[in-house]
């Protein structure tokens, strides 16, 4: 009973089509949503961010891997981005050249040898720029990302102040980091950033930069959500506590001083993720929703099935009791049967017709090929027209000369000379542009005897026509 009930509810073709349409549009919507999540459009005012991987050593040279995102790339623009390692005086942004900051006083960085660069500075060029040849840090891609490696000479480095005097910067005392500014002296606020970097084997960078706060806030969020993720996976959707979170993030020295300090040097996994909302979360949410929909859907389907089945059961019970109702039911079923029969018959006719047409088409193709091969008149031919056809087209004036219009009865039509072929006719008239008929263009001397007259022919042969001898 259940199967018949279900069969009947979902049996009709239009309903099937509607369901199919709904499913397809749902799938499409899902696809669009997924691509949006994956594409992850950056907001209009994207702040440039640099993620650093690796930790610089306090003594000796070390290499850091950098990857930037959210930068502005100008196709064919002049210059690009300088990536430097150094110190800024006011991490809230006052050091920036676009805000009036000056190198040597507001910010200081490691210099490099111009002729034999060691890699303490990176020049990331705009694509298609005129100075692209000088870039050692690659290109800023159209989506604002770049990557490269920079060398750090150590915790202490020598640089120059405003008055070109040598001065030393000690990163143990001040906060150093990765500086990015517009290249070649072009001030570009969109590409200015400072990313603090701490050295290993030292106590801590007690940073109080606003930028660092911003960054560490993000780090905290990531921590929490990262922790959530992990605990959810392990406990299957139940609540969690932050304890597990702290353990998983594993920042050992975060307890000291600022609770929000996240040491990017020791937690490379967290920092890069901090710049984007984690993809795994949205995927999970998507799957959760899908599962819920499926579960709900199946529950509804089963409920419907049972409900309808129950309704039909009750109906047949009632029918068994009342003969009038049974009569009505029988009629209804009969009519429905006839209707479906008609529909099927029509469909069958259409299919038969289609099949016949297809067969006919195949037949034609083969017949056509055979007929073509068998035909005799292939070849360039002579281009001759039957003489009477030529005569048909030649100017009526000329034909008038040869016709016998005057007598009336029994005359051949004035345009047609029967089998008479005049000398000029035939396949030799080849006068393009002069009007073929011009070959016989002289005015017919017989014209004044106009032969084309509407003659009333009396049976006795007299004609009472009016010859118009001149054209009036």
């Amino acid at each position: 009973m259940l199967t018949t009930a279900l069969h009947r509810t979902i049996a009709s073709v239009p309903v099937k089509r509607i369901l199919a349409l709904i499913t397809i549009s749902a799938l499409l919507a899902v696809a669009v949503g997924v691509t949006t999540t994956m594409l992850n459009p950056t907001p209009a005012e994207a702040a440039p961010k640099v993620s650093v991987s690796g930790t610089p050593k306090a003594d000796g040279e070390s290499t850091l891997k950098l990857s930037g995102s959210g930068f502005q790339s100008v196709e064919g623009g002049f210059g690009g981005i300088y990536v430097l390692f150094g110190w800024v005086d006011d991490a809230s942004g006052g050091w920036r050249p676009s805000k009036g900051g000056v190198t040597g006083s507001n910010y200081r960085y490691v210099y490099d040898d111009e002729t034999k660069p060691a890699g303490y500075q990176l020049f990331v060029t705009f694509p298609g720029s005129s100075t692209a040849y000088a870039a050692n840090g690659g290109e800023v891609a159209a989506n604002g990302t770049w990557s490269g490696t920079i060398k750090v000479p150590g915790e202490k480095f020598t640089t120059y102040d405003r008055s070109q005097n040598e001065t030393e910067v000690d990163c143990g005392e001040v906060q150093c980091g990765i500086i990015t500014i517009g290249a070649h002296g072009v001030d570009n606020a969109n590409n200015e950033s400072f990313t603090p970097v701490d050295f290993s084997a030292s106590g801590a960078a007690a940073g109080k930069d606003a930028e660092k706060d911003e960054k560490s806030e993000k780090g905290e969020k990531t921590e929490k959500s990262g922790g959530d993720e992990k605990s959810e996976e392990s406990t299957g959707g139940s609540g969690d506590d932050g304890g597990g979170a702290e353990a998983s993030s594993g920042s050992g020295n975060s307890g000291g001083g600022d609770t929000q300090t996240v040491d990017p040097a020791q937690n490379p996994n967290v920092a890069p993720v901090a710049s984007e909302p984690p993809m795994s979360t949205s995927w999970l949410i998507f799957f959760a929703i899908l599962a819920g929909v499926l579960v709900l859907g199946s529950i509804i389907a089963i409920g419907l099935g049972f409900g309808i089945g129950g309704y039909l059961a009750v109906k047949s019970l009632l029918l068994g009791v009342s003969p009038a109702a049974m009569e009505k039911e029988r009629d209804r079923r009969e009519r429905k049967r006839i209707r479906t029969q008609h529909k099927l018959a029509k469909r069958r006719l259409v299919m038969q017709r289609k099949k016949k047409l297809q067969l006919a088409k195949l037949e034609r193709g083969s017949e056509r090929a055979v007929a073509h091969a068998n035909h005799q008149s292939l070849g360039p031919g002579t281009g001759k027209l039957p003489p009477q056809v030529i005569a048909f087209f030649e100017d009526e004036d000329r034909k008038a000369a040869g016709s016998r219009g005057d007598e009336g009865v029994g005359a051949a039509p004035s345009f047609y000379t029967g089998g008479v072929i005049t000398a000029e006719s035939g396949a030799n008239s080849t006068g393009p542009g002069d009007g073929g008929a011009a070959s016989a263009g002289e005015t017919d001397p017989e014209d004044h005897k106009d032969t084309r007259v509407l003659t009333a022919v009396a049976p006795d042969g007299t004609d009472n026509s009016d010859h118009t001898t001149t054209h009036s």
Binding site: L357, L378, K384, F392, T430, P432, G435
Partner: protein
């Protein structure tokens, strides 16, 4: 056009027309649109050297029959033979060398001049030896349809009847063994109606086959060698005008009483509908 048509030597040319030979034959043609049967089993021969008039009331299937002959409508059953071969064994160009068609719709999308329009009729023969006659044929067909004075005028600036004559000139210029004219005289005045039918007769005299669909039974009776009367999708009469145009038959088929009178000049049957006289003295 040359790159998209078969090589010229592969095009099959029509034979010279032989009087009396059927150049177009329809055998058992059946056409139905959905449930309605338009043509029910038509057998018709169109012979060279004669003028065949197809007449019948509205909706009898005359235009559909012409469409079947020109392959604009698919047959449900039956075949059409043109020049001894099944119609679909000819390519479009080869068909155009054998039959020329004048439809009722003669509009043009762009303002070509009349001469250019008539020259279009020579297009099936482009690049072949027959095109050496182009100028003669174009000039001849224009003079036969009395359209020479329009030669340099834009086609779109002509009146309806003048356009119809230019279209006829184009069709004549195609110089094919068979001519199919679908109500060519509909927009024309008396002079030009007679002119067109006269030209059709002359054309048939040269050995071509001319098929005309006319509403005007008098014209059919006067100029046709044979009349085929269609009614409800089948041919109910096929023969010389004197045989076909009888008062009983016409009254029956057209569902209106008529009487037949002989033309005082030629003796051809004239159809006169029975009318009530005017209420005057």
């Amino acid at each position: 056009m040359s790159i998209i048509t078969v090589g010229r030597s592969a095009v099959r040319r029509p034979e010279f027309p032989v009087a009396g030979k059927p150049i177009i034959s329809v055998r058992g043609a059946e056409v139905s649109f959905g449930e309605r049967t338009i043509l029910a089993g038509i057998d018709l021969d169109i012979r060279c050297g004669e003028v065949l008039a197809i007449v019948g009331p509205n909706g009898a299937g005359k235009s559909t029959l012409v469409n079947v002959i020109t392959a604009d409508v698919e047959l449900d059953a039956g075949k059409v033979f043109i020049d001894d071969e099944v119609e679909y064994s000819w390519s479009t160009r080869e068909l155009a060398m054998r039959r020329a068609v004048l439809l009722q719709d003669i509009g043009m999308a762009f303002p070509f001049i009349v001469l250019e329009v008539v020259e279009m009729g020579r297009s099936p023969w482009a690049g072949m030896r027959e095109s050496q006659h182009d100028d003669l044929i174009v000039a001849g067909s224009m003079s036969r349809t009395e359209t020479v004075q329009f030669a340099a005028r834009k086609f779109t600036s002509l009146s309806g009847g003048e356009k119809a004559r230019v279209a006829l000139a184009r069709v004549l210029a195609q110089a094919t063994p068979a001519l199919l004219l679908d109500e060519p005289t509909a927009p024309m005045d008396i002079r030009h109606q007679e002119l067109v039918l006269q030209q059709a007769r002359d054309y048939a005299s040269t050995g071509g086959a001319v098929v005309i669909i006319v509403h005007n039974l008098d014209l059919a009776g006067a100029y046709a060698d044979r009349i085929a009367m269609l009614s409800d999708g089948s041919i109910i009469a096929d023969g010389p005008p004197a045989e076909v145009l009888t008062a009983d038959r016409i009254s029956d088929v057209y569902d209106y009483p008529v009487s037949i009178v002989a033309d005082p000049n030629t003796g051809a049957p004239l159809v006169v509908p029975v009318r009530a006289g005017r209420k005057e003295d």
